[in-house]
């Protein structure tokens, strides 16, 4: 199976010259500006209202631009950034334990298994400290010590305590902070907010992004919006696996539609499997629930040493018959080994037949996360204070009391490191299309460390995009944006209308959810925690067949002129089917293992074996047409100050 050939892509990363530590400041000093009086003449469209989108929209409006922000939820406050539990990293070194910008940079680039762009990661570490200042000023109620100053905790993949948190709902509190800044601008009339609107396509005029087409989910109206620049912050594509920790509505449509209009999609095979989720319970399950990684600070992960013990209650398995496999394999990081490594270790012991919990599809897929040692050491009330809401959530879902018996956990799809390709300015290869947050690809390489997603979303939204988008607008003549009556807009509106009509008219026999489940089964089994050549080739064929079946036999009930959840799902699943093929192709053509991408052919006794000589690059995929395989391009990753080494957490 070979990817298609296509014309070259412009993948100039535009990394500024100079030492890493000076690049961003030097670059900012050279970026062009727009006169305050002229800013209101520019219209900025922001798609998505999570941490990156809300922060960007609020910041643009504060600067004086005319801003429109779109989200599919009924309120911007509900974007899925809200579900992040554990925390946000920042190199404040409040703990006096040796943290610094350079240390956070090094941990993040190592955590990403040396597949992220060095200059972007350094900038992320630099602005991390500003994020905490901004959020505290907004009233985000971070955990504090009795002296009134901020508290920290430690997180996977780091040997310092640099994670700021707000109980088990750091994501909600940070999002409410960004949402309140956005709301203030909406109240002032500086941002027009369009909720329950889904972006269904991107409009290009003379090769530049100049607007979008949306569907009003309440009325069904298909509308186009013209702008001087489009900023897409629409999150990741984890729901290509059907079961994931993502919200039900999370989808790849906005970024994939941009991809179809020419935007490169980078590293789609880099997906993160989070080790601490509640195991699957049955066929009708619609989502997997994450238990915060912070639980691994005090919980110990184990399975029975002997298969025969797997059916016994945990309390009947004596201490010496337990295998604390993370502590055994990775003594220096122990239960705080990074996510990809902890997930794979859990899969390994379950594959050996030592998993615990109920049997689903003939396997016991679960390991214990045990708090008894922490309860003995700290007392139940302290454990409750730290993790009470997570224990409650666990009990709601499983009916089990984790103070009395260990939790059962298993890895689940959680985050996607791949995304639209962007340069140092977060601009895609389409001029005027900027991409922030999880939707872009640049900062996490092949694996994201815990508490880094919130940091990246807010870094992009508050402290990067306002500078780089301004530089772009300075080169666009104010008032030059086309009217949305222009033929380019009408053509895209027609495309979108045709597609909606097509989905409604097939009137086959199988529901959109049927196809979504079938898609997820293929991608999870062949492109999940472990991948190999034969499996990926089979997956691509199966997905091509499933895509064909979808367009012949899907049944979409409801009408185009009202809330139509089945139509929404059908459109998203259709894009996921195309996307899934590209993801498997990316996994197939990356013949190495790195971070979350584990090819069983390329390993060193279970540890990922990178091939820096051939794969120290971002793979960037180009759309080549309906039903065609996409074309592969590369952006070489240049490391100026980092020594590539084998990642070891032993």
């Amino acid at each position: 199976m070979k990817e298609a050939s296509a014309p070259p892509m412009n993948l100039d990363s535009k990394i500024p010259a100079g030492p890493l530590a000076d690049k961003w400041n030097n670059h900012k000093a050279k970026l062009r500006l727009v006169n305050p009086a002229n800013r209101r003449k520019y219209h900025v469209i922001v798609v998505g209202s999570g941490l990156a989108g809300s922060a960007a929209a609020a910041s643009f409006a504060e600067m004086g631009y005319e801003v429109s922000c779109f989200c599919y939820q009924d309120s911007p406050r509900r974007a899925h950034s809200i579900a992040a539990q554990g925390g946000i990293n920042a190199a404040k070194n409040y703990q006096n334990d040796g943290d610094s910008v350079r240390r956070l940079f090094q941990d993040t680039i190592k955590g990403g298994d040396y597949r992220a762009r060095e200059a972007n990661v350094y900038r992320l570490a630099q602005v991390s400290t500003n994020i905490i200042d901004q959020c505290v000023a907004q009233g985000v109620p971070f955990a504090r010590e009795y002296g009134g100053l901020l508290a920290n905790r430690s997180f996977g993949g780091a040997q310092v305590s640099r994670t700021f948190y707000a109980r088990g709902q750091t994501g909600q509190q940070l999002l409410i902070g960004a949402y309140s800044a956005l709301s203030r601008q909406i109240g002032l009339g500086a941002v027009k907010m369009y909720t329950r609107h889904e972006m269904l396509d991107l409009v290009l005029v003379e090769g530049k992004a100049k607007g979008i087409v949306t569907r009003d989910l309440v009325t069904g109206a298909i509308e186009s919006w013209s702008s001087d620049v489009v900023v897409v912050c629409t999150g990741g594509y984890g729901n290509v696996f059907y079961l994931s920790t993502n919200a039900q509505g999370c989808n790849v449509t906005a970024t994939f539609r941009a991809h179809r209009r020419g935007a490169g999609f980078a590293n789609p095979c880099y997906t993160q499997i989070h080790p601490t989720c509640i195991p699957v319970h049955g066929e009708d399950q619609s989502k997997l629930t994450l238990m915060s990684e912070s639980l691994r600070n005090d919980g110990r992960v184990w399975v029975p040493k002997n298969k025969a013990d797997c059916t016994k209650p945990a309390s009947e398995i004596p201490e010496d018959a337990r295998d604390y496999f993370l502590e055994r394999k990775y003594p220096s990081y122990g239960n705080l080994a990074p996510r990809d490594i902890a997930s794979r270790a859990a899969k390994e012991v379950c594959d050996e037949g030592r998993g615990v919990g109920q049997v689903v599809d003939g396997k016991r897929l679960g390991v214990y996360l045990d708090f008894s040692a922490a309860i003995n050491r700290l007392g139940e009330s302290e454990v409750r204070a730290r993790y009470g809401n997570l224990f409650d959530m666990y009990q709601n879902i499983t009916g089990e009391n984790a103070y009395k018996q260990p939790m059962r956990i298993f890895p689940a799809v959680h985050y996607t490191m791949g995304g639209l390709w962007v340069d140092y300015n977060l601009q895609s290869n389409i001029p005027g299309l900027f991409v922030g947050g999880e939707a872009n690809f640049s900062d996490h390489g092949a694996n994201r460390l815990g508490a880094s997603a919130l940091m990246q979303g807010l870094a992009d939204g508050y402290f990067v995009l306002p500078y780089t988008v301004t530089d772009y607008l300075a080169g666009e003549k104010s008032g030059s944006r086309p009217s949305n009556d222009a033929p380019e807009f009408k053509a895209v509106v027609k495309d979108v209308n045709d597609r909606v009509a097509k989905l409604l008219s097939i009137n086959g026999t199988k529901s959109p959810r049927y196809y979504h489940k079938a898609l997820g089964k293929i991608t999870w089994e062949q492109c999940g925690m472990a991948r190999d050549k034969a499996g990926l080739e089979g997956a691509i064929r199966d997905l091509q067949a499933l895509r064909k079946d979808f367009w012949e036999n899907v049944k979409v009930v409801g009408s185009g002129d009202a809330l139509a959840p089945e139509l929404e799902r059908a459109g998203r699943v259709a894009d996921f089917l195309d996307f899934g093929i590209m993801m498997c192709l990316d996994a197939l053509t990356r013949e190495e293992s790195c971070g979350g991408h584990f090819r069983t052919e390329f390993q060193d006794a279970g540890e990922a074996k990178r091939d820096d000589a051939h794969y120290a690059h971002a793979a960037v995929w180009q759309w080549t047409g309906e039903g065609q395989l996409p074309a592969r391009h590369v952006e070489p990753l240049v490391y100026e100050e980092t020594q590539l080494s084998t990642r070891s957490y032993k």
Partner: protein
Amino acid sequence: MVQDNGKEQTLALKLRVWRQRRGQPGAFEEHSLAAVPTSASFLEMMDMLNEQLIKAGKDTFAFDHDCREGICGMCSMTINGMPHGPIPGVTTCQLHMRNFRDGETITVEPWRARAFPVLKDLAVDRSGFDKVIQSGGFITVRTGSAPEANNIPVPKPIADEAMDAAECIGCGACVASCKNGSAMLFVGAKINHLNILPQGQAERDRRTLSMVKTMDEAGFGNCTNYGECQAHCPKSITLDVIAKLNRDYLRARVKEFFSSTGKPSKGGD
């Protein structure tokens, strides 16, 4: 839940579910649903019902939901007369079918409140909440203008109290459970979050007066201390936030009355 013999327990249910097009009168529809696993969530049960309807070629029931882990605040069903159903402290998405009996009839309705008009079936328009926040539910701080975070010490008890209030997920169960359709618990939670923090003092009076005014304009009713909101809040926000809202409102009105301009003090009070 798996029994000893490895078979999952299931339920057969009768469902009375609200059907309504926007701007038209609605009615209950009755459906039977078999083999619902007790380990399924309530929304997974609704997914099963919708799949059954698709097989029969009928329109599905529209309902709001997103994260399905109890934090986004999007799910909004009134189940057997109770917003988010019979279990205290959980959202609809975290309600599981093991809490229901085999053969039970379950009634499923949208939020019922004047300020939350039905969009379709079980989905309602809660934009009134956003309007209240837009009128003052923030601390004015422009991007880039924040001081060093540890320059603003916040005593731990204050931070914890603010956090208690900030847990509100804006779902609207408080409004749906109140006979008056009052949003005082929601507004009280936001006021408590921001008004007690040192960062929130500069705009404290402006914030309170503006949010209460917008709350009234958005069609929410008054509080007459039924306490239903507290009973149905999935985040267990308590009635004392309403008492504190009333206190702050009184404080702001008195200061407004005695100010020379007759207008709310313009920050920095």
